[in-house]
């Protein structure tokens, strides 16, 4: 076969695929406008970057000047806001269960008096750990405030015991810990969560587009034979059919990244070319995966369902929220065959972490290996399907 003939088959398939997209407005909508609408909605959700003013309840059983000072200090912290001040713990608990507050601060009766008597009163924080993220943030904020309050009291007590003010201040924190996040200095959710969700959503769109494209051939009578008749070789069929979605997917992912890195000003400390290449490998790997699923499944909706099993739980397996090193061997292995996992690792390296390139190479090689494996599998399945159904139909489209 000559090079020109080879190019001809590819162009034929590409033109046919583009006409098929144009003839299906619902499909066209799902390919580009819909992911963008979802990106914008998600961006709006995470726009604050950090949860602020989480509602908490206060039970002040003391009602003294000092206890009111604690309440003011709690309210003054940026993470929480005192939404309810109730007279009993039972009422506060009710608010906790009804999801009106995430945590409760309880100041014991006679706190001020007990402080003066030198009997250490106990401030108790009850936090709703079922809402792990919000409950934890609220509890940490109030814990810090209570400890700051305690340090202030300590300072006064030490001074009244004849320890000089400078000396007392030094005694308060004998071992200060300078805490710094190595990247993402403000611990911003946009940088670590939104930045991971956008590719996760894209993975679903890209896989689904490939599933629908290959199902049109695989699940119609004589479809593969017709495809091979037009394309001559499996390679041209694959390239011609997938290229429109590769271009669209790259464009949409790029727009998502523009939103993230330019509009939200998320950190980008990497190499643009590597980042882009990584994105391209990711999109191609997702497409090959989707096409393979279409070839394996019984029909189009079955293929979409099978795809959903792989891509819908992918976010958990990628280890964004719960780290991969804490997972079982099975979960680590399953996660590693999903393109999202190496892609996100490299994405974090090249954006937030600013890791030198050599650290990203293993993840990139792994992503490339996945792409090669899925492509080989797809090629073999199309080749076999075309052998099994020889040119029985002399159909032209």
């Amino acid at each position: 076969m000559t090079a020109r003939a080879s190019l001809f088959g590819f162009r034929h398939i590409l033109g046919r695929e583009l006409r098929q997209i144009a003839a299906r407005p619902a499909l066209a909508f799902m390919l580009a406008p819909m992911p963008l609408i979802i990106f914008i909605a998600l961006a709006a959700v995470f726009a604050p970057g950090l949860p602020r003013d989480l509602p908490v309840a206060v039970v002040d059983l003391d009602g003294s000047t000092l206890s009111r000072q604690v309440v003011r200090m709690v309210d003054g912290a940026s993470d929480v806001a005192v939404a309810r001040q109730v007279p009993s713990l039972a009422q506060a608990r009710q608010a906790l269960v009804a999801h009106e507050v995430y945590a409760i601060l309880m100041i014991p009766p006679q706190m001020e008096r007990n402080l003066q008597l030198g009997q250490s009163p106990e401030i108790v924080i009850f936090s709703n750990n079922q809402f792990l993220a919000a409950g934890g943030t609220a509890a940490r904020s109030m814990l810090t405030t209570a400890l700051t309050f305690s340090a202030g009291v300590s300072l006064r007590l030490l001074e009244s015991n004849g320890v000089g003010p400078d000396r007392a201040a030094e005694l308060i924190t004998p071992i200060p810990v300078q805490q710094s996040p190595l990247f993402n200095p403000s611990l911003d959710y946009i940088q670590f969560l939104l930045s991971a969700i956008i590719p996760t959503v894209m993975q679903i769109f890209i896989c689904a587009a490939a599933v629908l494209s290959f199902s049109r051939e695989r699940h119609s009578a004589g479809g593969i034979a017709r495809l091979m008749h037009l394309s001559k070789t499996p390679a041209q069929a694959i390239l011609g059919k997938l290229l429109p979605y590769t271009v669209l997917g790259t464009l949409v992912l790029l727009l998502g990244d523009v939103l993230l890195f330019i509009f939200f000003g998320a950190d980008f400390r990497g190499n643009v070319a590597v980042f882009f290449l990584n994105g391209l490998l990711f999109i191609l790997a997702c497409q090959m995966l989707g096409a393979c699923v279409a070839m394996i499944a019984r029909d189009t909706t079955g293929a979409l369902g099978m795809m959903a099993v792989i891509v819908a739980p992918a976010f958990g397996f990628a280890g964004v929220s719960f780290p991969r090193f804490g997972m079982s061997d099975f979960a680590q292995a399953w996660g590693s065959i999903i393109p999202l996992t190496p892609y996100l690792q490299l994405r974090t390296d090249q954006t937030l972490r600013g890791a030198p390139l050599e650290y990203s190479l293993p993840a990139m090689l792994w992503l490339f290996a996945l792409l090669v494996a899925f492509t080989a599998l797809l090629w073999a399945m199309i080749y076999r399907a075309s052998r099994r159904a020889p040119q029985t139909v002399g159909v032209n489209t």
Binding site: M30, S127, L171, P323, R353
Partner: protein, 378 residues
């Protein structure tokens, strides 16, 4: 009586149709079973223990070594190796062999003996919030404990008595009691919530597979079909909310009859919305595509991973049109926190409104689109 028997036979017939359709069976039965096995896998470890960190001990004294041993002994982190300098530590960090760095500067012991503050530094991976807070909690807890011991000795050495020294160093004791999910388990946090969403999505997907682009059931069958789906999904509610927690060791305190109070209207709302979607998108593949894609965004709108208070209000109100947005917290409140019917009354009302609203919408779309179809049939 006869009509009831007739109705029940229609319900069984609808269920048989469901079981006879391989795609609907795959989605509404096998799919949920597969998700039950697969979805919780990343989280079954529940808590992150022994996060690997490295230490740079520039002081290399008895005090610094003892300090690092205590950090290593904590549950949250594990010091995997000692590093000579920041470059080596950074290397381990980029290789993801370590997620935190603790630095004890030279002069640590000398400062403690000289009774001046002896600062240390801790770096954590800010790209994993769970890991970061683990590292910082471990380091600050040890620093506070060691600091308190040092101070106590200093004060008692000046002749202050034990009680007075303790009272002036920590005049207020602060306790944090974690209620519900006390161990802070990650599976306990996401699994019960996610399965509410999985039920909604598979139910609407199944309705799409069975009815999108097809003739709608009529007569008695029109009412028997949704009743069949609702009945099936009440069984799934029991399976995912009672059996799954048991299987994965997720704490559960709620009362099943209270759960049904919210679950039943929720399933009715999902069924009605499923029919509305099937009528609006008369393309089966399109319905499946749409619902698969919407899963993750809907999860982030439910208030579990990101507090509802931080979601822009307009978007939150808009999201309430989807049953899961309000139902997920109500399910969790009943099942994991033991909420009473009063606590979830608002959500129950909302689910009833959604069920009625989507039924009306589905009927309206059907009425508007059916006349041409009848003509075509003639």
């Amino acid at each position: 009586m006869i009509s009831l028997r007739l109705f029940l036979s229609e319900v069984t017939a609808a269920l048989r149709t469901l079981l006879g359709d391989p795609n609907a069976r795959m989605t509404m039965i096998a799919g949920i079973l597969i998700y039950s096995v697969l979805y919780p896998q990343p989280f079954v470890g529940e808590v992150v223990r022994d996060v690997p960190i490295v230490a740079i001990d520039q002081d290399n004294s008895a005090a610094s070594r003892s300090f690092l041993r205590r950090i290593d002994a904590s549950d949250q982190v594990e010091i995997v190796s000692a590093m000579p300098n920041m470059d080596a530590a950074r290397d381990a960090f980029f290789r993801r062999e370590a997620y935190g760095i603790v630095i004890i500067p030279a002069g640590f012991e000398k400062d403690i003996l000289a009774q001046v503050p002896a600062p240390i530094a801790a770096f954590g991976d800010g790209s994993y919030l769970l890991v970061y807070s683990n590292i910082m909690e471990a380091v600050t807890t040890v620093a506070r404990a060691v600091g308190a011991e040092v101070n106590f000795e200093r004060l008692t050495a000046t002749g202050m008595d034990d009680v007075q020294a303790r009272a002036s160093l920590s005049p207020v004791s602060v306790t944090n009691i974690k209620v519900f999910n006390p161990q802070g388990g990650y599976a306990s946090y996401v699994v019960p919530a996610s399965f509410v969403l999985i039920l909604q999505q598979t139910l609407m997907m199944g309705i799409g597979l069975l009815h999108a682009g097809r003739r709608m059931p009529t007569g008695l069958r029109m009412w028997a079909t949704p009743v069949a789906y609702i009945g099936l999904y009440v069984v799934w509610v029991a399976f995912t909310q009672l059996l799954l927690p048991l299987f994965y060791g997720i704490p559960r305190t709620g009362d099943f009859s209270t759960l049904l109070l919210v679950a039943l209207p929720f399933i009715c709302a999902c069924t009605a919305m499923g029919f509305a979607i099937a009528l609006l998108i008369p393309w089966r593949e399109g319905v499946v595509f749409f619902l698969v894609v919407m899963g993750l965004p809907l999860f982030f709108l439910s208030g579990i991973a990101w507090p509802i208070e931080s979601i822009p209000q307009h978007l939150h109100i808009l999201s309430l049109l989807v049953p899961s947005s309000s139902a997920i917290s109500a399910f969790v409140a009943v099942n994991q926190m033991g909420a009473s019917p009063q606590d979830i009354a608002g959500t129950v009302q909302l689910q009833i409104i959604l069920a009625i609203g989507y039924t009306a919408l589905a009927v309206a779309i059907y009425q508007l689109s059916s006349p041409p179809r009848q003509q075509a049939g003639k």
